[in-house]
Point group: C2
Chain length 127, copies 2
């Protein structure tokens, strides 16, 4: 499956049948990518790289952010479309749900829980 | 947390609070390790390396299997105990459930579904 505008290098996205559980889990096995997916899930129309970086509140080179986007895209987790010089990405929620029902929500719930526990620990240390 | 018998090199296992979602997902982001965990979940008392290799029906060097066990152990997914010269491993089901409720079952369900789909495709090609 290819999403592209005219005159741009096409971006490769796997079809639903090519998504693998190992690939999805690898793409989600990084705290930054987990945070990216959670932020993307909170938007209806996706986010471009600049918006994603702002929401993550983590300073990182644009090339690093692009690398994370590429891993998410190649696993099938997100779709990216070019708008001018920017790529806008969103989570392929429905396709993921059709391929692996409940999986993504389960991972995001676990990540939320980990963040909440870390937050409580941080608050205890600070008090 | 350390599980060991006298006179053996102790095996390091993370405590429940040290398990991370990224670490768990990385450990599960490999088809062999997914298959290992599924086989271990099917046993009440765990499996040693020889038994695991037999059940996987995949020929691989013992060192490769040990490497996969180590990654699973260090993520917190399994606990290994020495019995003579063999290590017996089992999934830390209750501890995982307390840390990330529903996560492991959700991953194994997705893996089962992927295996079933691949099986149906294989059968169609063969017919």
């Amino acid at each position: 499956m290819r999403y592209a505008t005219a005159m741009s290098r096409p971006l490769a996205h796997p079809g639903v049948a090519s998504m693998t559980i190992a690939g999805i889990l690898y793409a989600l096995s990084d705290p930054i990518r987990l945070a990216m997916v959670r932020e993307l899930l909170r938007t209806a129309h996706g986010l471009n790289c600049t918006e994603t970086a702002c929401r993550l509140k983590v300073a990182m080179p644009k090339s690093t952010l692009s690398h994370h986007h590429r891993i998410l895209r190649e696993s099938g987790l997100i779709v990216s479309e070019r708008h001018g010089t920017e790529l806008t990405s969103r989570v392929r929620t429905e396709e993921l749900e059709s391929r692996f029902p409940g999986l993504l929500q389960s991972v995001i719930d676990a990540y939320d829980q980990e963040c909440a526990t870390a937050g409580r620990r941080g608050a205890r240390r600070a008090s």
